[in-house]
Each structure stands twice: as C-alpha cells, then as structure tokens.
Symmetry: C2
C-alpha cells in the first residue's frame, strides 16, 4: 500500500469504510507530512491536532458514520468552525471564535469527516497575496483565495479541503496547484456560516486529487449523498471548446492546454468537438460579474469598513470604496444582465451542447510576489451559476501545472462528475489519468 497521506480521498474513504486502514493512522500520516512541509508551504492558519486525534480514535471504535468516515479535512478559514479560530483572512478577526459551525462544515462532520484545521484564505477571500506558496515551486503563488486548501491538497497534507468561489477562488488555485477543484451549481451548498462577500456569486465547493474526491466532498457538504456515486457515461456528450471573450489573456500554455483537452474531448464525444462562442447576451459577462461583486462586497463588508477601516488592506479598502460608488440602478441593470446571460447559456446547453471546456486561468501560476493571479477566466462562469470542475492537463514554461475547466448546464452537477471522470480517463498521460 502507498503511503497513507498519498491516498486520494475516495481511495482512503473506501479503505476506511472497509476498516482496511485506521482513521488514526491516516491522520498521523497527514500530520507527519504537515510537520515536514508546513514551514515551507504555509497552507494552514490553524490546526486542531488534539481534537482531530480524539475524533479519529472515536471513529475507529464506532460504527461507520457516513461517506467521509475518518477522512481528515482542511476547511478554508472563511468557513466558521465552533472549535477552531476563524479569521476570514483578516486581522480584524484574529481572535474570533464562532459560536457555531458553518452548515457545510457541520454536514461534513455528520458524514464522519475529521476537521483537521483551517487553511489560509486571502483577506476576506479577495486579492491580497497570502503567506501560502505553491508546493510545486515555493517562489510561485498557489492562487487564491482558497490558497491554503489548494496547496494542502496538492502537497498531500490532506486529501480533501473546502473552498469558496466569488470570482475565481476554486478553479484558479486548483489549476495553479494541479489538483481537482469543483465549484458546484450556485446554491448547491448552503452558504450559512461562511463569511458573505457577494451573495449573488458566493459558491462553496472543494478540492481533491480526483473527480471522486470532489464528488465525495460536495455530496457531504450539500447532504446530497447520491452525488458521491458517479454514474458511468453512457451516451456520447456534445462537447464544445469555448475560448470565452477573454481569450486575449490566454498564454501559450493555456492555449496548449485547451488544444490537448480537445483530444480527450474527441475521445469521449466519439467524434467532432465544436468551437463554441459565448451567446451575445454574455458579451459583458466578466464586466458584469466584476461590478456585481464590487457593489455587493461594499455592502457585505460595511461593518468592517465602518468599524475597522484601518485594519483593511489599502487594496481592499480601495475596492470597497469603489464598490460603494456604483449606483443602485447600475446594480439592478447588472442583475438583469446576469439573468439574461444565464438564460442564454441555459438555451445553449439545451440546444447545442452538453459540456463546455474553457481555460481555468491565463497560464501557470505567477510569482508569489505578483499576487494570486488573474481570475478573468472564472468570473463569468461564477456569474453563470453553472457547475465547473478543474482538471490538471499540462504544464507551463516553469514546470507548473496548467488546468482546464469543464462546465455543464444548469443543475447538471451529477452529469459533470460523470463526464469529468470519463475525460480524465481519456487523458494521454497515465499519471494525469489518476484524476479520474
């Protein structure tokens, strides 16, 4: 058997359910790995070692609790936890101890998950560079805002970790760190207990090292347990490659990743893969997402801006001030624009395609000192509310991972998992096929 910490979440879950391995041993292996690597990677904002060990022992003794039985989990520090401090990535909440778990965290515990610790979030899940670095090369960013979760999963510190995406905070770090990231349909996972930034956009999901892993995670977080069982893909899906309206931001490696993705897509489509342009109603998708996010964030963080303005980074304070200047009428117009864009995408999926493949990020991870990278290729998909999965597919000039995202129609999370698994199985590189 492999080292326990290198088991994927779904491999580990199966072994735990069969009592082939002990939750305690898996946890100790993860803690060992964290001990070796954390001083370099800096993925964690807090660890609950003692409580996690106590819980693991309990789980090893008792009945199988649920689909996450005995799995150590990293929780992004934007999610409330009743037993671990929760800072939302901000010094304002440096000593904050929430009274309750976020709903999604409580549901993961109910399913038998062990909350091992909190992973680093950027400041209120925005753009200030975090302490966390990319485990593949410590000079580079892991992306953000779910920086610690993506890095911890990529570095084998933990098999599963939660994330949230308002602009590009799951798919982009998943791409930079070479892991599977799943942003399910908007509303699939309840937001309660996660710091609210932009209620029209905030979406919860998770990171794993395989499609099965993220299916397990979101199944537990949403309490839609059937989602964990990924059906085989029977019909030939109609697949489109979509360069989006932001293609000018794509580097050579992103263009290469998309070209590579076409081969696997053709294999599972058993035929032609079309190039699909976004509907005209989506012309301003990225711009509308940016304005809605800035408008809503200026309100969502009004308490912090009024009471603790000096403890906000200059960059965030500026962003909030700009958001507060956007007229209400513009916001209402943008919500209507978003609605029209969503309808046009629903029609596209009804009539023409079952799956879109698009860039996850402009390229491989930029240097850590330059920030967390540009979420431009994710903004529109977040606004669309459609389910998205990042898969690692190639690498860039610095040898860092480059992913693509697979996007399914409204509410088609189940189908997306099936097709993502088939797509991963069709990848030419056998190592990358492990993502299935």
């Amino acid at each position: 058997m492999k080292d326990l910490e290198s088991l994927s979440a779904s491999q580990a879950a199966r072994a735990l359910a069969r009592r082939d391995i002990k939750a305690t041993d898996l946890l100790l292996a993860c803690l060992d790995r964290i001990g070796q690597r954390e001083s370099l990677v800096k993925a964690w904002s807090s660890l609950g070692k003692e409580s996690a060990l106590a819980r693991a022992k309990e789980l090893d003794k008792g009945a199988i609790k649920g689909i996450l039985h005995g799995l150590p989990i990293g929780v992004k520090d934007l999610f409330d936890t009743y037993d671990l401090p929760t800072s939302y990535g901000s010094p304002i909440y440096a000593n904050h101890h929430p009274a309750a778990d976020a709903v999604s965290v409580a549901l993961m515990r109910q399913a038998g998950g062990i909350i091992l610790g909190k992973t680093v979030s950027t400041e209120f899940a925005t753009f200030k560079p975090p302490v966390t670095v990319n485990p593949h090369n410590l000079k580079y960013t892991p992306g953000g805002s779910s920086s610690g979760s993506a890095a911890a999963v990529a570095d084998f510190m933990v098999p599963l970790a939660t994330g949230s995406q308002t602009a590009g905070s799951i798919i982009r770090p998943a791409s930079y760190c070479g892991v599977v990231g799943f942003k399910p349909s908007f509303g699939k996972v309840m937001l309660a207990g996660v710091k609210s930034l932009s209620p029209s956009l905030d979406t919860l999901g998770c990171f794993g090292r395989s499609v099965g892993d993220v299916a397990l995670g979101v199944a537990a977080m949403s309490n839609d347990l059937a989602l964990a069982e990924i059906a085989e893909l029977h019909n030939k899906p109609r697949i489109g490659i979509c360069k989006t309206n932001d293609w000018s931001f794509a580097s050579k490696e992103t263009a290469g990743a998309l070209a590579l993705a076409r081969f696997s897509a053709e294999a599972i489509a058993k035929g032609v893969v079309q190039d699909i342009a976004l509907p005209t109603a989506c012309a301003e998708l990225t711009l509308i997402q940016t304005r809605i996010m800035n408008f809503e964030m200026a309100r969502a963080l009004i308490f912090e801006r009024m009471q603790f303005g000096k403890k906000l980074s200059a960059q965030l304070f500026q962003q909030l001030s700009e958001g507060a200047q956007i007229p209400y009428e513009q916001y209402q117009k943008d919500l209507q624009g978003a609605h029209q864009a969503r309808s046009s995408l629903a029609q596209l999926f009804d009539n023409e395609i079952d799956l879109l493949i698009a860039p996850s990020a402009p390229g491989e991870a930029p240097p850590a000192k330059d920030g967390t990278g540009n979420p431009v290729f994710c903004r529109g998909w977040t606004l669309s509310g459609l389910p998205c999965i990042n898969l690692n597919i190639s690498s860039g000039p610095n040898g860092l991972p480059v992913g693509v995202q697979l996007i399914a129609g409204p509410g088609k999370d189940r189908f997306l998992l099936s097709v993502a698994r088939a797509f991963a199985q069709a990848l030419p590189d056998p190592v990358l096929r492990d993502q299935a």
Copy 2:
C-alpha cells in the same frame, strides 16, 4: 406637537432632519413608553439604553448622517448585533455576543439609525409561542416570528423595527398587531448576519406605522436610498383580489377585510377590480413552500441539532427530524415547482394586473396560549419572492386588527410603496388613512 413616541418613523425622521426635535428627546420618550408597558407586552429581549443614549447625543451634535438620522430602532433578535446579545430566540445562544453586525443593521446605523434594543423572536423564527403578547389585548398573540418587533411598533415603544419572513413572519404579525409590515422582494435586503433558516425563502423587511416608515426602513437596510422617496401614483393600476387556494382557512373577518379592501382598490383603480385566481402552476404553492422550508431548515440548523438537540423545543426538533427525511429528489422537484410558479406569476403581472390584494392571515390574532397563528396565507407569497405590504383595514369579533396584503410584480418594490400609500389614502376610516 404629539407625544414624541407616537410620531411615525417618517414624521420623526423629517422633524429630526430639520432639527425640530432632538434624537435624545425622542429616545427618552420611547424609553418612557417602554418603561410603562414592557412588563405587560414583553416585546424586548435586550435593551441597549446607555449606548443608545450616547449615540443619540452624538447624532444631536453632529451632521445629519442619513435617512434614519436619530430614529430609535428595534432589531429582531434573529439579526446579529456587535454590541447587544443575540439569542435567535433559543436558549442555545443565551449568552451569544456576535463579532459583527448583520449587514442590514450596519447599514441602518450608517444611515443614522439608533439600535435601541433587540426584539423578541420565536425560537429560530419558528412556531414556539414567545413571551410577547398583543398590545391591543394581552391575552392574544402578536403573531410570530417577528413577535417583539410588531408588538413594539404597535405599542409606540419604537417607530421602526426589523423583521424577517420565511413563512409568514412579517405580514402575519403586522396584521395581528395592526401595523404596516413590508416584506420586500426576495434578495432586496442582504441576509448576511441574520440566522439562516431557509435560504430559498428567508427575506428581510420591517415594521412601521405608515407606508413611509417601512419605505425608510427598507431603503436603509438595502442601501437603495431612493426607495425612501415614494412617488405619487399617476396611472390607474390594474388591481385583482386574490383569495388564493387557501380560502377555506379565511374567517368571516378576513372575508370582510377583503371586501372592504375592494372599495379602496376601486377608488384608486378608478374602475373595476377583478377577482383573480392563482395560475395553475401555483396550485401547490403552499405545500411546496412548507416542504422547501422544512428541508432547508433541517440542514440550516444541523449544528444545533447535532450539538444541542436537547435545547431545542420538542416541536422544532420534530419539525427538523421530519425535514431531514425529505428526499433530495423531492427538494429538487420542489425547487423546480417554485421556479415554474414564479414564472407564471411574473406572466400574470406582465399581462393582466399590477397589484394583487390577498388575506394577510386567517383572521384576527388567536389567543396567546394557542400559538402564533397560522402563516398559511403568507407561505405562497414568500415562496413567490414578490414584494408584499400589510395594511390594517378592519377588526375582528374581539376588536383586534385585521389586515390585508398588497402584492406587486417581480422587483416592483417602488411601485408597491406608491400604490400602498394611495390605497391607504383611499380607506374610508380617517384613522386608518394615517397609514399612508
């Protein structure tokens, strides 16, 4: 001038803005009234007398801060406040002090409002009878779950108070207490910082003693400040009377209230007011609302159920256990049903009418010992997401108030306020016209 505590929020706001009255004097008048009546009515779960007085003095000295400058406000104890305890109506949170204000509370403070205290909520805004009683007759319920807010405004303890509605928690207590209650469009007021029960339904709003009051309140809570300026109604609205599919629950006094409402409606419609049946896609609206609420509440309160099950009332524990049994597929089907019902109502408003008038409650307030009354006439409208306003229109056999609700099309909050004011102005009883 009238006693200060009997000024409506909009009267007081105008006088405060002109510096005709002092925030400190208004606050003291409210505190006097609370001193006289609170031992009977029991509307408050906590009062922040000292901090409110300090804030009033500050506001009297400084510039006009905003549209709520100097107004004392009651905040339902489901909303987080950083300076007052917040129990969500449950002993589980008896000593809970949130780290931050709810977004809507912070926005009210930003607009110059003075948070005077927290008003009684039923247990997690559900159905356990609260300590609060109806100020018109102490043997009767004020309704729930925004029990303290409706009672405090009705009893002249405070001119404005916040509420939330998941089933019928604003419109029903407004009807029972004879005040104006405004449940704006779903999503109009950000939910962040208010205990989440059912994210597909939870809607924030407020209580006042006039249409102008609730316009002020929701304008501040949503930061859509233009909403506070109610335009005159120029065109003749197409008005329908809608008995809904739950008419069998209506008492004689509710039938009488609806008949009375027809006269005022005809006056402002300057012609025929139609009877409107709900579209067929709305046949199961009430049932679907109930199932979605129970499904989502079982998840939203998962932490409390797992960790503090014994501190939940038997009634709520039972409701949550039942909600946890609803299959995910049923929930998804119900969400689709809700979507279709909303589309059919949007079409109805596009094609046939501008305003619906419907019952607010089955009748006048029931005895306090029998619970908070039946939300059956509100469930469907909450699910619809349409903006609703309760106006007091008559009274029942025990002399308690009976209201009707006015309902406008999707996003037509501004129009609803205009038409509600015109409707109130057309009421035959001059005392009731004060609601304009």
